[in-house]
Amino acid sequence: MPLVEFHNYSMGFKDDDGNVSNLIDNLSFSIDEGKALGVVGESGCGKSMTSLSLMRLLPDAAVVQSGKILFDGKNVLEMSEKEMEVIRGNRLSMIFQEPMTSLNPVLTIGNQIGECLLLHHPDLAPDEIRARTIRSLESVGINNAEARLSQYPHEFSGGMRQRVMIAMAIINHPALLIADEPTTALDVTIQAQILDIMKGLKGDSGGLMMVTHNLGVVAEICEEVVVMYAGRAVERGTLKAIFDEPLHPYTIGLMSSIPTMTSDKSELPAIPGSVPTIYDFGKGCRFADRCSKCMERCMREVPKSLLVGKDHIVACWLYPEGEVV
């Protein structure tokens, strides 16, 4: 049984008049225990909402429309707030994009990390909490951890704060760690440090869901990939399948439009147009109006997600043959 399973999950946003515009549409994927999945996409593709849906921390205007999200076999969408509080920060934890603002400025680091233990293991002795907090800080490469417990977030650099966030997220050995753009706000050399730490964590058998726009980060750390575009999973499969044999025109376009350190100076094969907003999604394939291979059918019908190869699922009318999943 997979650790996490999204089953035809759909959600959207309610405007002031109560009308709901759909964002995430029929999203299905799963993460096996101990595996790292990358959720890739550009702004507004719904990747952050996917992770917040699993955490049940969606903003007020968000509305769940249909589907299931199973975690440990239970549907989190039907859990009570009390039940969610038990798994958040415990079996399921999350780190965020902005290390500068994600820590409480008026509480000490030790206090904020220790709180995770206190919430989920209320019977732990203060000494034990302190010892475990120090150990978790050391495990993410923070030197002199004992002295730093009594410091406040503003005394840490951005990279150090992200380490603290990671220490906080892994202290209860979660079954799944969700990382939402954990390195986007950081400098490249600091990003390399953080990715190194996160790679080190993978040995600890917990699963990872890496939400990012950076294909390089995904290639670095994940075994499986979901590519999202405008709220839909357009392609998913193993890292090798997606990176070496991408099928969906969007995935192909995305891969080739990124300048890399080895690319030549010829014109970049860019995808025309811009990322649609929630209000101008088309009726058929949401990528249709930017797609160079767009067919008449693409404008009318939503492409089905079909299994086209081993562990390789694509939602595109170019590949109409395949097993329905």
Binding site: V188, T189, A192, N214, I258, P259, T262, A270
Partner: protein, 330 residues
């Protein structure tokens, strides 16, 4: 200006920002934003300036364009000293149109209540690039089409555009006054990858069409490498390396550049080389380390690196590195 000489020459440019004193008798300290930077920019080339936060790359551009007063050093444009734009008013007007800057978010510099067409016409008229309003409008519509926006966009307001479109508007605004050199400060950083490629292509196309020279500033080495002919690598206010884009992978590259190149996660499944991971954070520019700026984090540092500031060495033709251990022969 002699033929074949540099279009723009920056010599020993330094910009220090005073740190606010907390005590009266305290010694005045400074943020060493840009220190002793010298380089030449040739007509028709694209010079990339790459660096992490605190490297001073944006301050450098602002100092050249007289958007902030330089502490010392000179800026020579077409053979003439234009430091802080201390030139006669007529000449200054010309400089303002010939040297243009494009920012990361042009939206912030657009008045939300003015139609973008008018916002573009205005500097054109002020700088004498158009004789009357009609001519300005015609020219603006033409430019909008060149950058891939429809001419109808003229009558729209800034908020009606997406990030990529706004960046195009920013480009049109700069192009409207017939610039020779465009300074692009993180101009594609905020864009989605699929849109970033379009804008990079646009920059390249415009360069040919309008005979432009670019100074392209950014933190993403892969993007800077793609767009640039030559690259300036900055760290803590100093230039560490000046190289042709294809010399970045050289064994003779500066250790910092090597680490930077190695730190970029490549979007491919190919087996990767052992990564160089730098220890620690970027130090504060208030108390930069003595000796080499990079000594504290350098994986090759030797004791003398902490004492003596290294010079530039030309390790290959046109490839300058501020590290004595890269000059070879050892």
């Amino acid at each position: 200006m002699e033929k074949g000489g540099p279009l723009l020459k920056v010599e020993h440019l330094t910009k220090l920002f005073p740190v606010k004193k907390t005590r009266f008798f305290e010694e005045q300290r400074h943020v060493h934003a840009v220190e002793d930077v010298s380089f030449e920019l040739y007509e028709g080339e694209t010079l990339g300036i790459v660096g992490e936060s605190g490297s001073g790359k944006s301050t450098l551009a602002r100092a050249i364009l007289a958007l902030t007063k330089v502490t010392s050093g000179t800026v020579i444009y077409r053979g003439e000293d234009i430091t802080d734009f201390r030139v006669p008013p007529a000449k200054r007007k010309l400089l303002h149109s010939e040297l243009q800057m494009i920012f990361q978010d042009p939206y912030a510099s657009l008045n939300p209540k003015i139609k973008i067409g008018e916002a573009i016409c205005e500097p054109m008229l002020a700088n004498g690039q158009a004789r009357n309003h009609d001519e300005a409008v015609k020219k603006t519509r033409h430019l909008l089409e060149i950058v891939g926006l429809r001419a109808e966009c003229f009558d729209r307001f800034p908020h009606e555009f997406s990030g990529g479109q706004r960046q195009r508007i920013g480009i049109v605004r700069a192009l409207a006054v017939n610039p020779r050199v465009l300074f692009c400060d993180e101009s594609v950083s905020a864009l989605d990858v699929s849109v970033q490629a379009q804008v990079l292509n646009l920059f390249n196309a415009l360069k040919k069409e309008f005979n432009l020279t670019y100074v392209f500033i950014g933190h993403d080495l892969a993007v800077i490498r793609y767009i640039s002919d030559r690259i300036l690598v900055m760290y803590l206010g100093k230039v560490m390396e000046i190289a042709r884009y294809d010399q970045l992978f050289s064994d003779r590259a500066h250790p910092y550049t090597k680490a930077l190149v190695s730190a970029i996660p490549e979007p491919s499944t190919a087996a990767r080389k052992e990564r160089i991971i730098l220890e620690g954070d970027i130090p504060s520019a208030v108390n930069p380390p003595e000796g080499c700026r990079f000594c504290q984090r350098c994986f090759m540092a030797r004791p003398e690196c902490f004492e003596v500031e290294p010079d530039f060495y030309e390790v290959e033709p046109g490839h300058f590195v501020r590290c004595p251990y890269m000059k070879g022969g050892e």
